[in-house]
Symmetry: C2
Subunit: 148 residues, 2 copies
């Protein structure tokens, strides 16, 4: 009886852990032609929304530590989608901006979420429900993570 709570099949966390990786894997073939990984793709989505964004703010938005974001942005710069420039008003800070190549990507890459939605065959209704439920879970998790 008591052991049931240790059954893998009963674990919400494992579903999230597993599904998250499957989702990343589902994006992989679609992102291939843009030479992007999923974390790099998500980072680009945030850069698209800003045109010029603080490196720190970018990391916060993607919920990654700067230690993780540093190599991601460096790779995106190497590919040619973004530029890193020092903030003249505060030499500790770094701006991230789109290159022309990055702006071009912005218009072209819309096919990725469209194609994935097509493949996933999730109804608009279920999609919305899941988003809402996950947002509630996210709020609860933020409470848990607040206190040590």
């Amino acid at each position: 009886m008591e052991q049931d709570i240790l059954q893998l099949d009963n674990q919400l966390c494992f579903r999230l852990y597993s599904i998250s990786r499957k989702m990343t894997k589902a994006y992989e073939p679609l992102l291939e032609k843009y030479h992007l990984t999923y974390p790099q793709y998500v980072t680009m989505l945030v850069v698209f929304e800003h045109e010029k964004i603080d490196f720190k703010e970018l990391a916060d938005r993607v919920n990654l530590k700067t230690a993780t974001m540093t190599p991601i942005v460096q790779k995106l710069e190497q590919i040619g989608y973004v530029r890193r420039e020092k903030n003249p008003e505060d030499n500790r800070k770094v701006f991230v901006t789109l290159t022309d190549e990055g702006k071009s990507l912005n218009t072209r890459i819309t096919d990725v979420p469209i194609e994935l939605a097509q493949r996933l065959q999730l109804t608009v209704d279920k999609y919305a429900t899941l988003v809402d439920e996950l947002d509630e879970l996210d709020a609860l998790l933020n409470n848990v993570l607040q206190q040590p």
Copy 2:
């Protein structure tokens, strides 16, 4: 209009990506006293269910490639929770079994999911709903991943 589908806030995948990591982080302080990481914890949950399990079957059950599972099981062996032994009937295969220390862990570690549920404050109803919906999404994802 068309750009809305690139908005991070509209992405189901990003919620899963982000929440999955937060969930792992929420487990961290609870697993600390057992010297386990979250992937190691999940692996132990499967070993608990079997007493003796094929290495390959273990990796499949946790949805990890053997290349990922190898160092995880090696670490668990080093800690002292499991033993790796060759299958005498097939020298390519490896069995994973619980040590006495591992069996002791099985009875003690039930406090982890209990304490997390306590902290999360998710109602039984919402928990069940989320599990069902995630299982549906999982099935759809399996279809997507089947075809290249």
